[in-house]
Symmetry: C2
Subunit: 141 residues, 2 copies
């Protein structure tokens, strides 16, 4: 049976259940950032997914990228580059990070993972990014 690893709960919040993945909002106001977790018990690596689910994950990563761009626009900070990572060194449950980057963000040009300290969203900004993300994620992938 599939359960989201509790390690995701401290730093992210549930947003939407897509066809394959649970989509979560990373609670870090420095970057518009989504996490996708395929609902496949025991999957750790991309090739643990059967080919149709791998393709579905790819489609949902592209959709999440569009959602991240919409989140950046909602915050008045348009995304200049998407960063996509499937890493899992800390939390092995298969998941993808989709992060919107800008030349003026606090980690540019390095990657975001493990850099600096997370910053909480103010409540109105949180509602804006959540609404922006959900509007895109509600479309078919």
């Amino acid at each position: 049976v599939f359960v989201v690893d509790p390690a995701f709960e401290a730093a992210s919040a549930p947003l939407a259940s897509l066809g394959l993945c649970e989509a979560r909002l990373q609670l870090d106001a420095r970057f518009p950032w989504l996490i996708l977790i395929p609902r496949i018990p025991g999957a750790r690596e991309l090739d643990d997914l059967p080919k149709p689910e791998r393709r579905r994950l790819l489609d949902e990563i592209v959709l999440a990228g569009q959602a991240v761009r919409s989140m950046g626009a909602a915050l008045g900070r348009p995304v200049e580059k998407l960063n996509i990572g499937l890493i899992g060194n800390h939390t092995p449950q298969l998941h993808a990070h989709i992060v919107g980057r800008r030349r003026d963000d606090p980690a540019w040009p390095g990657p975001v993972w493990g850099v600096g300290r997370s910053v909480d969203y103010a409540e109105p900004a949180l509602e804006r990014v959540r609404a922006a993300a959900i509007a895109v994620l509600s479309r078919p992938a």
Copy 2:
């Protein structure tokens, strides 16, 4: 017309031309590490690729992951986790990193990008990883 960005030439060497991508060996003996560059002029983001090419990139990323595992085995350091990144903050030409990680590697558990200094391969190890990678990359994706 497609040309590999010269920025890749300092740190990596050509390995194979796959169906979609140029596969290159990252010349850093700390990690078995491949780079895939789709031969699509002007592509910077995943959604700049038409859907069939996106799927082809995914298939070639999975194949590259198998090649990275084979490179780790050839070095006597079996890969424990694959890390996949599409970042492109320094070099915007669309490319994917496929990196083999171990708990005893010098960047664990953080990501490898921008961490520490690259270490040159000794010549026999370079030949071993190159042969291991090419043997896998010669299979159909």
